[in-house]
């Protein structure tokens, strides 16, 4: 037996409460009225606007900005929410730098796009805060649809169905609705419990019954739902985090990033969360960035993200990578973990350098290095637990058509659990909307309304 490892340096309250509160305040503070008016002035009101094309939900962006420009803020919110009922959350979490703002024609001659995300927030915040309903439900169809999952796809689908006159029951496995909006997004992107306020706004349309803490497949069988409801929308998201499959993975101190992010969001006092002194994050997506930056902002001394490929292959945008660096997070590319060291708890991670071989495939270079770690976060994606649904899958996710139909009569699916999902709130919202429109057509075709 060798010498025992030194105790891991993991503890709460690395920073005082005031500092932590400042570190977890709004990442991008909202625009004031005068800022919004000036920013709205910068929009060229493009024909067939590239920003709208780039928006997964197809929001009429020049249209809503023009309404901000004319001080018609409520009309602006209507323009946004009619395409994307989670326009408020998307304004906060969308990677606009690779969506609408990347497409803004202002990039062409001044490299400074209109700040569409912030304008969208400016328009939607007052409506959500005031709880003002901008949509009316159509006369009741007498139909009832089950939505499985209360994340962005499920709630978007439920809201649109409710507007169209159908009743909806949402089955939510979690204690609170919102899915990843509630559990999976960095705290400083959605302060002041915005995710819950947005869900309340969505549910206030009426006709949507939310059943929290009900896991379909365990508490209630999918087949029962099929019998009981006129249609079914599956928006179950992804389940378990992927494993590294290397030695030492089960040592204490090795955690799934999504669990830590969720704990952070749910902690009323973030100083109570234990934080490692040396933190290593394995992965290259938004989850990796979120867990790394938040660890840093909780007081971790050294945080390093290690990703097996180069910066362009990272799921996190260049903007997010830059955000991490600005927060003091180191990003190391071209290395993959080979083992996690430690006896009774993690002390480090051994990596081998990688590169592309002559065929362009990822290959080891034969060089190795070890990073000391008190905590290791795994952020290499999650997988779908398709269970006994009997639905077709492709690369581990449900296969759907353009209408989000699964091919099984009466079942639609959308969000991260389908093959066309891309882990973005905005895409999930669009899936829910498309599915609701398709379900509505289906129910009306069948008659009886």
């Amino acid at each position: 037996m060798g010498k025992a490892d030194p105790d891991p340096d993991i503890r709460a309250q690395r920073l005082d409460r005031e500092t932590v509160e400042r570190n977890f305040a709004d990442l991008h503070p909202p625009l004031s009225r005068s800022e919004a008016l000036i920013e709205a002035d910068r929009c060229y009101f493009c024909f067939d606007a590239p920003c709208t094309t780039a928006c997964p939900t197809g929001i009429d962006i020049p249209g809503f900005i023009r309404k901000i420009h004319s001080d018609n803020v409520e009309g602006s919110a209507h323009t946004i929410l009619e395409e994307n009922i989670m326009g408020g959350m998307c304004a906060r979490v969308c990677p606009t730098e690779v969506l609408c703002e990347e497409a803004c024609v202002r990039n062409t001659h001044e490299e400074l796009p209109v700040r569409i995300g912030l304008l969208q927030r400016y328009a939607t915040d007052p409506v959500i805060a005031a709880g003002k309903q901008l949509f009316e439900r159509a006369p009741s169809s007498g139909k009832c649809v089950a939505v499985v999952g209360a994340g962005p796809a499920g709630l978007s689908c439920a809201h649109r169905l409710a507007v169209l006159g159908h009743d909806v029951v949402v089955f939510n496995r979690d204690g609170k609705p919102g899915g990843l909006n509630e559990y999976g997004i960095a705290a400083y992107k959605t302060v002041a419990d915005f995710a819950q306020r947005e869900v309340e706004y969505i549910l206030a349309i009426g006709g949507i019954e939310l059943r929290n803490g009900v896991c379909v497949g365990e508490d209630v069988a999918l087949d029962e739902l099929r019998k009981e409801f006129d249609a079914l929308f599956l928006s179950v998201g992804l389940g378990n985090a992927n494993a590294l499959g290397i030695e030492g993975e089960h040592l204490p101190g090795v955690e799934d990033a999504i669990d830590y992010i969720a704990a952070l969001r749910q902690a009323p006092d973030k100083t109570t969360l234990p934080v490692g002194r040396n933190v290593v994050v394995i992965g290259g997506g938004m989850t990796a960035i979120d867990v790394a930056v938040q660890s840093k902002r909780l007081g971790a001394e050294h945080v390093e993200i290690v990703y097996r490929r180069g910066p362009d292959a990272m799921g996190a945008s260049r903007y997010e990578q830059e955000l991490a660096r600005k927060n003091g997070v180191a990003i190391r590319h071209w290395a993959r973990p080979r083992s996690i060291t430690g006896k009774s708890y993690v002390t480090g991670v051994v990596f081998e350098n990688t590169g592309l071989d002559k065929d362009g495939a990822l290959a080891a270079t034969g060089e190795w290095f070890e990073l000391p770690a008190d905590v290791v976060f795994k952020a290499i994606g999650q997988r779908l637990d398709a269970g006994e649904t009997g639905l077709a899958t492709e690369r581990g996710k449900f296969v759907v058509d353009d209408d989000m139909a699964t091919g099984v009569d009466g079942i639609w699916a959308g969000g991260d659990c389908v093959a066309t999902g891309d882990d973005l709130t905005v895409t999930a919202v669009q899936h829910g909307k498309l599915a609701a429109l398709a379900i509505d057509r289906h129910l009306r075709r069948r008659g009886g309304t």
């Binding site: 005068s34 008016l37 000036i38 709205a40 002035d41 060229y44 009101f45 493009c46 024909f47 067939d48 606007a49 590239p50 420009h69 024609v105 202002r106 062409t108 001659h109």
Partner: protein, 431 residues
């Protein structure tokens, strides 16, 4: 750097920028600050009879704003000076003594009887002022009392009052014209006929700025009621330029010296006025929006511009563009231009396409070979300049003259001979 010193009616000033008769020239304090800042001259705020008029103690001004709160247009209901005549005369005398190299003109507004003019004009002249400017222009308040634009809208009154003033005055007399007329030429002609040494224009334009969206009453208001005021600022410049050019190019008024007023904000605006026939310019709104130090750029910019043009004095520029102003009927109808979009500068906003498609001649593509691409269709383009006007990128869309071949829109060969409406076959009145 070109010397900007100017002589207007024999009055010398170090530059052609005078402050117009208005709130900035109501007191010695303001005028001292203006001269310290470098203004070439001032026209003292309009004097009237004693006892002085009174002004409202509520809002006198309001603005038309861009979204960034930039003032585009401006409106006022202030009347002439509300200070005792003696106070003004004493201050004018002191200022002229302290600033002998600057132009000091005094604006006057008096009722329509000769005795009053005979009484007040010598008192004003006694201050040493360089000239008088007759305020026949204010469209609010004073016009209700038969003065200001009430005079300026009736050529006979203009002539009459100008004659009275000239009879009593030994210094030059400038008549300030109101734009609140359908044709500026009869008032200008009347001033000339009455013996005016020069005209200045424009005064402000009758206007109501807006309503209050909460109360649905006129805005701004004085205790719930509002009244029309005079509109000025950048937005009125094109109206002023037309009136200046009309006077400069019309045989009956040509040669009458003009002091140009209306929206001068930057030195380029002065170039417009000077080239279209004004010999100097007067400024008010820009100073009220930004303060007196804008004079630095006005002087510096104009001087560098003259250098660039190889001109050595302001006089070289005066009237340069007048010969290029004509009646529509004399425009060359054989002249053909087409818009050309510089694809390297195009930022793909598509504004040119949509405005041409919706409101003009369907002459700009939206896609070429299935790709977003904006290109002028010469066979449809009438050369209207709309796309140039709306394009957000300066210099991206330009107009190019066709000099040979045929116009693909009309199928007619390009004819380098000039031909205008007066001889056009479609003109029933052709000569």
């Amino acid at each position: 750097m070109a010397d900007l010193s100017t002589e207007f009616l024999g009055i010398r000033s170090p530059n052609p920028f005078w402050l117009a008769s208005a709130p900035p020239t109501d007191k010695a304090y303001n005028v001292n600050r203006a001269f310290e800042a470098g203004w070439g001259g001032v026209v003292w705020k309009t004097l009237g009879e004693d006892p002085p008029i009174v002004n409202v103690s509520g809002p006198r001004y309001s603005a038309l704003h861009g979204n960034d709160r930039r003032v585009i247009g401006f409106n006022n209901i202030e009347l002439i000076t509300d200070r005792p005549l003696k106070t003004n005369l004493d201050e004018i005398r002191t200022i002229k003594r302290d600033w002998p190299d600057r132009a000091l003109v005094v604006s006057v507004m008096l009722p329509m009887n000769e005795e009053t003019w005979a009484k007040y004009v010598p008192m004003i002249e006694d201050t040493g002022a360089d000239a008088l400017e007759l305020n026949f222009g204010c469209p609010h308040g004073m016009s209700e009392r038969g003065m200001g634009s009430a005079v300026g809208q009736v050529p006979d009154y203009i002539k009459m009052a100008t004659e009275w003033c000239k009879k009593a005055a030994s210094v030059p007399v400038i008549v300030k014209l109101t734009p609140n007329v359908s044709n500026i030429l009869p008032p200008a002609k009347a001033a000339k006929d009455g013996g005016a040494d020069a005209v200045s224009l424009i005064n402000t334009i009758n206007s109501i700025m807006r309503v209050d969206y909460d109360t649905l009453t006129m805005y701004p208001s004085t205790d719930g009621m509002g009244t029309h005021g005079g509109y000025c600022g950048e937005a009125v410049k094109p109206i002023a330029l037309n009136m200046v050019a009309e006077i400069a190019r019309t045989a009956e008024t040509r040669g009458l010296p003009i002091s140009g007023i209306g929206g001068v904000t930057v030195w380029r605006d002065a170039v417009d006025f000077l080239a279209l026939g004004a010999s100097n310019v007067q400024v008010c709104t820009a100073a009220m929006v930004y303060g007196f130090r804008i004079i630095d750029d006005l002087v510096d910019g104009l001087s560098r511009f003259l250098d660039e043009k190889g001109m050595t004095s302001v006089a070289d520029l005066v009237g340069k563009a007048v010969p290029s102003v004509t009646d529509w009927q004399y425009l060359n109808l054989n002249y053909v231009e087409k818009a050309v979009i510089d694809q390297d500068l195009c930022i793909q906003c598509g504004r040119c396409h949509v405005v041409c498609e919706d409101t003009s001649h369907q002459a700009i593509t939206k896609t070429v070979n299935g790709r977003r691409h904006f290109e002028v269709i010469d066979a449809e383009c009438v050369g209207c300049n709309l796309c140039v006007s709306v394009c957000p990128v300066d210099g991206c869309i330009t107009m190019h003259r066709l000099t040979e071949g045929t116009d693909p829109r009309t199928g007619r060969p390009i004819d380098d001979r000039k031909a205008n409406w007066t001889s056009h076959p479609n003109n029933p009145m052709r000569r």
